[in-house]
């Protein structure tokens, strides 16, 4: 292109596009701001918002599904078997609880807020709430313990469970001993009968 025309064309286009841009920014001087003054004004989150986890321990049956589903292994669950006499109650969905849950720790600092723990829960007791302002000064305060068992309760439950296990083990041992004794008795009974074939074998000597 003719360099002179290009030169003047550049200048003309420069001025024209600059003024178009200036008009746009000037127009925006008078439009309403789109920002809000957090923290005095807070936005309302939609109902499906995925923020801090919450576990309703009354409904937890200790099935460990959420811990297995977590991709970053931030949920730590320990369970103790309950004895048949214990009544742990039923969940709000009607299931009977059979396991004590002494340890249900969620390390919310590790949590990646994916929500994969929410879906497998049979009683819908683990939920993602809309709380997003939960920063702490100490990292250890971010390990949330949801278990509601006191150390005394854990102690009694553990001893009961151990006792029940020992009883079951003892029963198994006695049952095994009983079957062994029965087998021995049967073998002894067989041994006292005269062994016919062998005497005849010894005769020809």
């Amino acid at each position: 292109m003719n360099p002179v025309v290009e030169y003047f064309g550049d200048i003309y286009r420069g001025i024209k596009t600059a003024t178009i841009g200036m008009r746009i920014t000037f127009k925006h001087l008078f439009t309403r701001a789109v920002t809000i003054q957090y923290p005095t004004v807070k936005m309302k989150l939609p109902e499906r918002a995925r923020n801090r986890l919450y576990v309703n321990m009354d409904d937890c049956i200790g099935c460990d599904q959420c811990a297995m589903a977590c991709p970053v292994d931030c949920i730590d669950i320990e369970t103790i078997k309950s004895t048949p006499e214990d009544n742990l109650g039923t969940t709000s969905t009607g299931q009977k609880k059979r396991l004590h849950v002494p340890l249900f720790d969620i390390d919310i600092a590790k949590c990646c807020y994916c929500g994969l723990c929410v879906y497998p829960c049979p009683t819908e007791c683990i939920k993602m709430t809309d709380v997003y302002e939960f920063s702490e000064f100490d990292r250890h305060n971010l390990i949330y313990s949801f278990s509601t068992m006191t150390p005394a309760e854990i102690e009694t439950a553990t001893t009961k469970a151990k006792k029940m296990e020992e009883e079951v083990a003892a029963k198994k041992v006695t049952a095994a001993a009983a079957t062994k004794a029965a087998a021995e008795a049967k073998a002894a009974a067989q041994a006292t009968q005269p062994p016919q074939p062998t005497e005849q074998q010894q005769k020809p000597e």
Partner: protein, 348 residues
């Protein structure tokens, strides 16, 4: 003012020292206002609100900013050239501050009514380049050096078109003294230089487009003198972090900041004095008088400052070689052609 202070103190030395104080006060007050204005204008152009928490709608924020800068630790890099590092911001600031002496703040408020006013201002504000070069070199940082060198090249090249623009106006007005330039533009808006000054009507019609082009040339080169976008390569935030400013903190950084905004007002004020009447009122005889003239001067200066801010937040940045191209191949030829045209016009 000189007479008042002389009558108060009698000793000319004290009078001279105290007469240097009002411009300093003006610079400080103005900087606080323009900091606030810049951030607020920028924010509203970007559909947001800045500064709402300190004071009503953030009006106390500039105080907070200045206090913060003053109480920050003043670090000097270990391998930096100490003397140059320390005096660089003060050299930059003194170049601008000295130029305030010749600005006509009103019909009877001028620090020094020298008859080579505009020439003096152009000369003394070149001290800024020395300060920037010192800052960049003494920081012992490759990126700062880049910024300083670019800035020196930029300022020196853009003085030429701005000098041509000034020359055009001086030719028409016949005087270099800023006070007399403003006085020559009294009598209403039609006497302003941008509308031809006090030339007869036929000559005025030819002079007006030339004057408009000269004003544009002057304004663009003044933006480059002050290192503001689209010419802020020396402090290109995205490339050089802060350019020559990178290693500065605390009081010295505050002085650099102050110098930049003072320089901004200086060139805006010169633009108003040269082209838009200085302290002359746009109405022929309304709102004239010493205090009204001061009001007009400051208002017009702030309008051009606002224009500068508006351009800063709209346009992207020019690259260094494009900057040089613009100065030498676009602004200088146009300014030269206009000066030639004005000269021919005056001779006729």
């Amino acid at each position: 003012m000189e007479q008042y202070l002389t009558s108060l103190f009698g000793d000319p030395l004290w009078v001279q020292i105290l007469m240097g104080v009002p411009p300093l006060v003006f610079i400080l007050v103005y900087t606080l206002i323009v900091l606030y204005l810049e951030m607020k204008v920028a924010a509203h152009m970007q559909d947001r609100v800045a500064y709402m928490r300190t004071g009503w709608h953030g009006t106390l924020q500039p105080f907070a900013d200045m206090l913060k800068l003053l109480q920050k630790e003043d670090t000097i890099p270990a391998a930096a050239d100490k003397l140059l590092f320390i005096i660089a911001p003060y050299v930059t600031f003194s170049g601008t501050y000295a130029a305030f002496a010749a600005l006509p703040f009103g019909s009877s408020f001028v620090g020094s009514n020298i008859n080579i006013g505009i020439f003096y201002i152009v000369a003394i504000s070149s001290l800024v380049v020395v300060g920037l070069l010192m800052a960049g070199w003494a920081s012992n940082n490759k990126w700062s050096l880049f910024g300083a060198l670019r800035s020196a090249a930029q300022i020196v090249s853009y003085e030429i078109p701005s000098a041509f623009a000034i020359l055009g106006v001086v030719m028409v007005a016949g005087t270099m003294s800023l006070q007399e330039l403003s006085a020559a533009q009294t009598g209403g808006i039609t006497h302003w230089m941008i509308l031809g000054g006090t030339l007869p009507l036929t000559k005025k019609l030819i002079a007006i487009p030339l004057m408009i082009v000269l004003f544009l040339v002057y304004y663009v080169s003044s933006m480059a003198e002050v290192n503001r976008t689209p010419f802020d390569i020396p402090e290109a935030e995205s490339e050089l972090v802060q350019g020559y400013n990178t290693e500065y903190s605390g009081m010295k950084f505050a002085i650099f900041y102050l110098a930049e905004y003072a320089n901004l007002f200086l060139v805006s004020a010169i633009a108003t004095v040269l082209f838009f009447g200085g302290w002359a009122s746009p109405f022929a005889s309304l709102m004239t008088g010493p205090w009204w003239s001061a009001f007009w001067f400051v208002t017009k200066g702030m309008l051009f400052v606002f224009l500068n801010i508006w351009l800063r937040w709209t346009l992207p940045r020019l690259r260094v070689d494009q900057l040089m191209y613009m100065s030498w191949k676009v602004l200088t030829p146009f300014a030269f052609a206009c000066v030639l045209g004005l000269g021919l016009l005056l001779v006729w």
